[in-house]
Symmetry: C2
Subunit: 402 residues, 2 copies
């Protein structure tokens, strides 16, 4: 619903300045005249606003374009590295962070092993990580975007609950803001990764997209009408803790039979290990006895080669996830679903099981046009790119594209 | 994302005229000076635009308000019956329609029994229904809003698929538009009813709301960020055809084990009948032998009185629906769920079963704050009010409130 208030002069200037910056960013190299044409602003306003952006160093003149009769126009671009952001990914086994420029390009990255730290220890680890990047960085920093597991109140930056980090009502945003004195944005990791997939992984033709992260846990990010949908309590996409096996296995959330207990990478590894021990002569059994433990790659390889225990595990996990995806498709009628996270290493046999069940489990008119694919963004970077992209949009009004 | 184009003068005038009309509509009685203050437009612009609305007869002067020193200001209001809309509800057993005014008040209504008609016969029935209202109506008609079961392309008014009406790719919107020569809006009935529940049934504090219609079929309407969410293929909310019992009973959609086969009013009636026949001494059995068939009221009464077969049926249906609601809650984290349709006559025992399962089936931090309640809008009017409300917003920029 449009606001009933007319914009004030100051708001208009800020809005127009962002509009000019975004037009240069999206169409560079571009002349002042073309900026005026594209935005509908007067030549004088554009000249004023561009002068300001040049002075701030965020826009640049980069020579002259072809003349269309008169004097060849000066072309403008955005100085991609005139401002940087820090993106942070609080992963299950390591915390990583990177310096990102205005185009979402990674300039430097660091990571620290988590070693099971949680509570205040984990907060200290976040500080150490960011310290390493801030220490020898100079130039203006737009802010810090953090992707973390858990239910996050993005309005205040509070982690309401993150099971594995043992954080409850922790105002991580405020802590990091106080320490580094820049704007901080905290997001759920699956939601941040979904945004990265939406921005960097597709041609952005889709207006709706569901990105499901199947790692040690399972969580989804919903892009609805081109925006991340958070729900009333910021928990939208927490599909990993929906009951799929009533009275089933104990989940780390304290309940039983959650989707995570049957379809996460953790569940797959546990079940494959049990399968390997039960059938030592199988390909899975031999891989197990060789290295003492199984990886997702071992399981993928064995399933691909037709090994029975591997096939059974991959098939069962894929089908459970497929049934949950069918309910999502039935509820949202979204035509693009991307799968990311460790389990996506299981490849085609896993995808086949998911697709079969997802398409059988919802009305064909709705399910048929839905594409279920692996994500396209480098998983090591998705969360931190997504978290910093939100900050870029919020602070400067820019949205990077692939 | 804001448009990159500056508004043209004509667009601005139309926008401002709607803004003024809506301000009068929302705040009536109101003076021109207060319209100017609320909208931020100049007094001169407001006077011009109000003059136009008075001439069109859509706004009215209704006397003078209290003076704040000078001359007492003239107060304005909207002439609620200066324009009418027609709302249509293509129900399972009857088609009904009503003349609705600018406040969503019903002025006259008619209905015709459906008698199982489908295909072209059903289209003819729609015409006859609207003919009856249009015949002796005079005054300007804003348009016709139609709520129908099925998957509806609301952009073109095409019924892509309505199982029970045997309509496939029927451009109902165009047909009705050609015949009555007014704007026509066609919506899915559950989606229209959801909108009515959102607009007329609550205080509109909620930004998100899921309204589930459990009648002979099951469908939901999703209000996300204050708007009806339709999905990529207009099928959002089609939860009735999500598989909940793999390999279960045959559904009328041609697949097996859909939610409708276990939780719809149809399934409840069938199961209760079977229960009554199996236990003729039960309260349900006696009701059955008395009247030859059971109604939802019979089942509600028996369940309320603690009758075993009735309890079992109500409990099972409620729990199945509750599990589906749990997945919705997990996926969307929406804090308001309203239940409408015939099955809502089952009352508390049914609600208890739904609530229990819905809360157990999703992460407590997400499920706990979710209110699951019966809808508040008269079910006989919800669909046609919802369909006409969309038209009211689209054609005149107005949104009625309770």
């Amino acid at each position: 619903m449009p606001s009933l208030q007319k914009a004030t002069h100051g708001q208009t200037r800020t809005y127009n300045s962002r509009l000019v910056l975004r037009t240069i960013y999206d169409h560079a190299p571009i002349s002042r005249a073309d900026v005026a044409r594209t935005t509908g602003l007067t030549r004088t306003s554009v000249s004023d606003l561009v002068a300001e952006l040049l002075e701030l160093g965020i826009a640049l003149e980069i020579g002259r374009g072809p003349s269309s009769g008169g004097k060849a126009p000066i072309l403008l671009t955005v100085a991609d590295d005139s401002r940087h952001l820090i993106g942070v990914d609080l992963g299950e086994s390591q915390f990583s962070a990177a310096i990102v420029n205005l185009r979402g390009e990674i300039r430097r990255s660091v990571s620290l092993p988590r070693d099971g730290s949680d509570g205040d220890q984990a907060v200290q680890l976040v500080y150490r990580l960011i310290d390493q990047l801030v220490g020898d960085h100079d130039g203006p920093l737009v802010g810090i975007g953090i992707g973390t597991p858990g239910i996050i109140d993005t309005a205040t930056g509070t982690v309401r609950w993150a099971v594995n980090l043992n954080w409850r009502d922790l105002n991580l945003g405020q802590l990091v803001r106080d320490r580094f004195d820049v704007p901080v944005y905290v997001a759920n990791d699956s939601q941040a990764a979904a945004l990265a997939e939406y921005i960097f992984g597709t041609d952005r033709q889709a207006t709706n997209m569901v990105v499901i992260k199947v790692g040690l846990g399972i969580g989804a990010g919903l892009i609805l009408n081109g925006e991340l949908f958070l729900g009333d309590g910021f928990g939208a996409g927490e599909i990993g803790h929906t009951t799929v096996v009533p009275g089933g296995e104990l989940c780390r959330c304290g309940r039983r039979g959650c989707l995570e207990t049957v379809a996460s990478a953790r569940a797959i590894l546990e079940r494959a290990t049990a399968g390997a021990l039960a059938d030592p002569a199988s390909m899975l059994g031999r891989a197990m006895s060789q290295s003492g433990r199984l990886t997702i790659e071992d399981i993928a390889e064995a399933a691909e080669a037709g090994d029975d225990p591997a096939r059974a595990v991959v098939n069962e996990a894929g089908r459970s996830l497929g049934r949950s995806i069918a309910s999502l498709i039935g509820a949202l009628d979204v035509h693009r679903i991307a799968l990311i996270g460790a389990a996506s290493g299981l490849g085609e046999p896993w995808l086949d099981a998911i697709r079969g069940e997802a398409r059988d489990g919802a009305l064909s008119l709705i399910a048929r046009p839905t594409a279920i694919e692996l994500g396209q963004v480098d998983p090591a970077r998705a969360v931190l790119l997504g978290a910093s992209a939100v900050l870029l949009t919020r602070e400067l009004g820019l949205m990077p594209a692939r």
